[in-house]
């Protein structure tokens, strides 16, 4: 009993050791943005919610300038009444100019090293200035711009054409030899923030973009997904638009092991339903459905071929074909891959299955 008493006595002594971090006594950043300035300095912006009664959705933006991304936090803290902490950061924005000049390995080193930041943080690239995006007002005034932007990306991942992304997934791809990866892109259009495709990285720097129109195919190439919308034109006189919503789609890869002429066959499979058909023809007719399937297959194959040709020309590999090739060919080195990739035969086979046409005829 006496021993137990001693143990209990020791507890209050130890409770005061750690620094408490109470929510309204710190500046809890929910989004961070980085711009690069003309003199190569970095301007950082922190979106910080204000916790007060009747102040729902109010937030402040603290910004500071320094030479490195991590030092900005200290610079900003110098100007604030409470320290800036990163534990609740959902999204980190970089300007396009910045990631074209500075490698992502350097930029993400701090983010991955910092235990306060989780692996689930979203990284995104902004076309133009990050400052303008961060300073724009979200249409929903109940949330701050940080939560709004991360919500935007997340709903695009779940129901739209945006591929899965977060710090972990990005680093997994970009740390490999070649450093090919992708991140979502934002753009300010008429003072409204909207996703505008994907930024592509090679050797850790942004080199190219995938426009929004190709995002459905890009997502299908990168991962299996359940939602996503694809629009195409039927190739007949009327050229009517057909919109198909995917139910379950994805691609599989077949790698030929031959050394002489390496080739990869990409098999895209799409199960979908007709969302809209700009045409008065009867859709319950199986013949028409078959026709739509055929046309959509042809269209996707064409678009995917164009996309892949473009990747090969720029020797980009955002899909991770290298790993798939390496899985079959043990001796592959990066140097060898760089040689064979641009001229490699990449065949695309598409299979579209339309399983529903909605509740109307």
């Amino acid at each position: 009993m006496r021993k137990l008493f001693l143990v209990i006595l020791a507890l209050p002594l130890l409770c005061s050791c750690a620094q408490p971090r109470v929510v309204d006594e710190v500046n809890m950043s929910q989004a961070i943005g980085y711009d690069i300035l003309k003199n190569d300095n970095v301007e950082g912006m922190f979106v910080i919610p204000i916790f007060q009664q009747d102040m729902m959705g109010k937030y402040q933006i603290l910004s500071g300038t320094s030479t490195t991304t991590s030092d900005v936090q200290a610079v900003v803290s110098k100007k604030a009444d409470k320290p800036v902490l990163l534990g609740q950061t959902r999204i980190i924005l970089f300007s396009e100019k910045m990631v074209r000049e500075i490698g992502m390995t350097e930029l993400t080193d701090y983010l991955y090293r910092e235990p306060q930041l989780g692996n689930r943080v979203i990284l995104a690239i902004v076309e133009g200035k990050v400052k303008n995006v961060i300073n724009s007002k979200p249409p929903n005034t109940n949330v701050n711009i940080g939560i709004f932007l991360s919500g935007l990306i997340n709903q695009q991942i779940k129901t739209g054409n945006g591929p899965d992304t977060n710090l972990h997934l990005f680093l997994g791809n970009s740390l490999e030899d070649g450093g090919d990866s992708y991140l979502p892109l934002f753009k300010l259009i008429n003072n409204e923030v909207s996703v505008s495709g994907a930024a592509l990285f090679h050797e850790n720097k942004m080199v190219s973009k995938v426009p929004t129109d190709d995002m459905f195919i890009f997502k299908t190439l990168v991962q299996h997904h359940r939602r996503g919308i694809y629009k195409f034109k039927l190739k007949d006189k009327q050229e009517s638009d057909i919109v198909v919503e995917s139910i379950r789609s994805g691609s599989s890869y077949e790698v030929s092991g031959s050394e002489r002429n390496p080739s990869i066959t990409i098999k895209i499979k799409i199960k979908g339903q007709i969302k809209e058909s700009m045409r008065s023809e009867n859709l319950t007719n199986r013949k028409m459905i078959k026709k739509i399937e055929k046309e959509m297959e042809a269209d996707i194959t064409k678009q995917a071929n164009r996309l892949m040709k473009d990747f090969q020309k720029k020797s980009l590999d955002p899909i991770g074909l290298k790993e798939k090739y390496h899985a079959k060919n043990k001796k592959l080195t990066y140097e060898h891959w760089k040689k064979i990739y641009p001229t490699m035969d990449i065949n695309i086979e598409t299979k579209v299955n339309i399983i529903q046409t909605g509740v109307s005829e």
Binding site: K3, L6, A10, L14, A18, D164, L175, E323
Partner: protein, 363 residues
């Protein structure tokens, strides 16, 4: 005469050896073994783990074989094999090894708390908490320690299911290609899993505390097998979750992995994981320090609490004066390779000598 003789009422059922072996083996090692293993063997790392597991089984067999000739603990076995002086010297080495292992586990965990949660709390504060707890458990005797080991396994096995959540982000092509490392690489990898699988050798101290000790061998094997399979599972999940280069970059892959988890009521799951890991660590430290103090008691005929106090002071002073990463560097160097080599070479040698002595007596 036999000092190793233990009163029947202090003994535990043979079944509990499973928990003693398994809980002692899983500790801080399983948080961080992937990085080094991935560097040497990459996708073939699981073969290394299986080989290491096989080796552990052989060592367990060796230990039980030794005690089938010389019932008691390692100290009586040493004395029988080498005589009093040399035997005691080796016993002292064992005591030292147990102390270093216990210290290594504790300081590794303190290091993790420092990096992940409370960087500003001094090491000795954590060490004090742990030492008080360990001392308290020790006063309950070996049965209490067994109970703690049992509870630790019971309270923490759910962490395995967390890995299934993580598998949402898996890329299974990372597992391929298989068998593209040389045998030498795979053997090197086996060495780097040692800290994960060490801990079974504590049997040499608590063997006399097991009822019908001979029947407990199968439980010891089951314990080691469970640890091996869990380690393989953790490694495979890490492989599909991380890309190769990322795994080589991450110091605690098992912890970083859980930071991807988001639950409706908690946003940052890794903090739960780090804290909960204390329950896994406690039997590690307790059994190791118990073995060390028990050995000391048997060697010098003192009450067990005195060496425990001495060791607590040593550990505290280490934590006060040496920064955790620096002391870890030295401790890890001692355990791997010297500690591992000591266990791996000495135990079979001991078996051989005892076997030869037995044969001669018969002739």
């Amino acid at each position: 005469m036999n000092q190793a003789g233990v009163n029947e009422k202090y003994k535990v059922s043979p079944f509990y050896v499973f928990f003693l072996v398994h809980s002692m083996q899983t500790g801080v090692g399983v948080l961080s073994f992937q990085r080094v293993l991935a560097k040497t063997t990459g996708t073939d790392g699981w073969i290394s783990i299986l080989l290491a597991g096989l080796f552990v089984h052989i060592m367990i067999w060796v230990i039980y074989k030794i005690f089938s000739f010389v019932p008691g603990d390692i100290i009586s076995a040493n004395n029988q094999a080498f005589g009093k002086w040399i035997g005691n010297f080796f016993s002292l080495l064992f005591v030292l090894y147990f102390l270093i292992l216990g210290m290594d586990v504790m300081i590794s965990y303190i290091n993790i708390i420092h990096v992940w949660m409370f960087e500003e709390v001094p090491s000795w504060a954590f060490a004090v908490v742990f030492m008080v707890l360990i001392y308290y458990i020790h006063t309950g005797g070996f049965r209490t320690i067994t109970g703690i080991a049992f509870l630790s396994v019971l309270f923490t096995y759910w962490l395995l299911f967390v890995l299934f959540y993580v598998m949402k982000y898996s890329e299974f092509t990372n597992l391929l290609p298989v068998f593209h490392h040389t045998l030498l690489d795979i053997l090197k990898g086996t060495r780097s899993t040692s800290l994960t699988l060490l801990g079974f050798e504590m049997i040499v101290m608590y063997y006399p505390f097991i009822k019908n000790a001979k029947t407990s061998q199968k439980y010891a094997h089951w314990g080691a097998l469970t640890t091996t399979l869990i380690t393989v599972f953790v490694y495979l999940v890490s492989l599909v979750f991380y890309s190769q280069k990322q795994l080589e970059l991450t110091i605690w892959p098992t912890l970083s992995m859980t930071s991807i988890i988001e639950l409706p009521f908690i946003q940052r799951f890794e903090y739960i994981n780090v804290s909960w890991w204390a329950i896994i660590i406690i039997p590690n430290m307790t059994i190791a320090l118990w073995s060390a103090s028990r050995g000391f008691k048997r060697l010098f005929n003192v009450q067990q609490k005195y060496p425990l106090w001495g060791m607590s002071i040593i550990i505290l002073l280490t934590n006060v004066f040496i920064f955790d990463i620096d002391s870890l560097y030295i401790l890890n160097k001692i355990i791997d390779p010297y500690g591992v080599l000591f266990i791996a070479l000495y135990l079979p040698l001991l078996l051989l000598i005892i076997y030869i002595k037995k044969l001669r007596k018969r002739i």
